[in-house]
Symmetry: C2
């Protein structure tokens, strides 16, 4: 989280927190308007930016000032420029552009869920009726697959290196609930003999297939449409990827899925989990710990499980050992679970 309490009692932090949704709205809007690219193109004065955006001077000035307060822009002599984060991640001129993540992170479904937080606290789970996440939800997960893909690059490279993908030879990789497919695709890019099988709902798989084609690995990419819990997965895989899936379910359902992964692996195969794994205190690190709230409002019984919880679940599913690996600079962790 970006918030820090002030050092002496003051209503300041309470105010800032109750108003925090303004920050979401301002950044989402700036990305939608493509304001950062417009500034990066050399438009620095309010009037120039407004003209390029076909917007009002007043609106642009107020939005740019707000983004300066938030630290995404700098303002000097009435000229706005991008700070490092904005230049690297929010201008379309950058190869690392990730403005698309705003679409999923600020999706109206999350807003609807958060609006019923009090009910979710009382009930102990979502009140929006989409809670079990075992049925296709094409709109939301296609949005996820399309919008979050740019963010995955550093993580996907980290995972490919961690498992030693380039040196593994002719491996078979199963990507369960593949979404954008980038984790499997990156392994295929690093290892020209790797064969990837991706499982997801049909509409979401289309996004993964597009990404595989763009990455030049389509010939080694097989798509199997269906639920992670019911699809025919095949067997004798070297690696099974389980990225951002367990947090949607209760422990029993997680173990059930781990068992399917266990069954699909070769005797010396490994399951690779990507997750928000908070420390055992559940209140640190901030981003991992905070993730639970979204699972409270959006699922029946999902959670950000701790490492000891994951270890116990993988053990129950038959895995011999699980280790944790923190990804530098990213808010998620990788778990490696050895079948034997």
């Amino acid at each position: 989280m970006a918030s820090t309490p002030s050092s002496r009692p003051s209503p300041e932090h309470i105010f800032a927190t109750l108003n925090a949704r303004q920050q979401t709205a301002a950044l989402k809007t700036a990305i939608e308007l493509d304001l950062f690219s417009v500034i990066d193109e050399g438009n620095h004065r309010c009037r120039e930016i407004a003209k390029r955006l076909n917007a009002s001077d007043r609106g642009v000035r107020i939005l740019c000032d707000f983004l300066t307060v938030l630290g995404f822009l700098r303002k000097e002599d009435e000229r706005y420029s991008l700070n490092e984060d904005a230049a690297l991640f929010l201008s379309k001129r950058s190869p690392h552009y990730m403005g698309t993540i705003a679409e999923f992170l600020t999706d109206k479904q999350h807003h609807e869920n958060l609006a019923h937080l009090a009910d979710a606290v009382r009930r102990g789970g979502t009140t929006t009726g989409r809670g079990n996440n075992l049925e296709p939800n094409d709109r939301l997960w296609v949005s996820f697959a399309r919008s979050m893909a740019p963010l995955t690059v550093p993580t996907a490279i980290y995972i490919a290196q961690l498992v030693g993908a380039p040196e593994l030879g002719a491996i078979r990789v199963l990507d369960i609930a593949a979404g954008h497919g980038m984790y499997g695709i990156t392994i295929a890019q690093q290892n020209p003999k790797a064969q990837i099988t991706a499982v997801d709902w049909p509409a979401v798989l289309e996004v993964a297939k597009e990404n595989a084609a763009k990455a030049g690995v389509a010939l080694r990419y097989t798509a199997r449409a269906g639920s992670a819990f019911e699809a025919e997965l095949g067997d004798s895989y070297d690696l099974v990827l389980l990225t951002n899936i367990f947090h949607h379910f209760d422990k029993e359902t997680c173990v059930q899925l781990m068992r399917r992964a266990h069954q699909a692996l070769k005797p010396d195969g490994r399951a690779v989990t990507l997750e928000f794994v908070p420390n055992e205190d559940r209140v640190s690190p901030p981003r991992e710990a905070a993730f639970s709230l979204l699972m409270l409002v959006g699922t029946d019984a999902g959670d950000a499980y701790t490492f000891s919880e994951y270890k116990a679940m993988f053990q129950e599913a038959g895995f011999a050992d699980t280790t944790i690996h923190r990804i530098p600079g990213m808010p998620q962790e990788v778990l490696l679970s050895q079948k034997s």
Copy 2:
């Protein structure tokens, strides 16, 4: 603002900002559930708190962990306790309780406005049709008057001291757009000979009259229902209070209201303005600067004006001199304008 950019390029600050609305939802919900009072009563473990709130263990655990991440709670050995801000301002056992401010700050009207920020940037003003703020909006302003009153105490005392209320003898004070009325009421409390006249829409004035009665100054409190721009204000006042009103209007309308205040004052009278007054750069201090965004989405042409802008407007309206006074620990400023 509570957000600070990280020191090296990372998507962390972008993530935190796009997710910031979760902070609003969590604190609003905790206040609604009265979670802070329940902990302050001695319920520290998840199960105890859940039982008292008639809520689920899982929901309470996740909400409390999130509030710990935000810094409102501490968690030690699975026991939650209040931090200083929460104990002082968010427990109903504290005389400084201000949880009511959540109602106005998170009002659905603001959400609706923020949801149309992109349109507001293009147009240069609100797109919700309530923009001129010259018509009564009972629901919103009664909510403001009722919910924001507790927050006014330190500011109201500061203003009463700044104008030297206790030593002024039999003064007459006009409180324009009085709202909760607390600024005038506090002067009446500090000066037993002060007579207060409050102007606001009828439904809002009821709140001010209630507060005057509670404060024991009802006999010296006169209410005049109507618009700040049209009501008969009377004349020969020593002080005219203009608190949180100018930010709703364009400069021309502000000057018009200043002229009415000028006319209502004695020759040596003073206008007292309470406002969000950012520095001339318009991007500091953070809270004052950020306030403009709400005016962009919620008004036709309102703004957080700078001191030089206020000085010029008061001069145009006939005032001799205006000085600025920063309120220690509060995000607003007081302007004193001498009629002559």
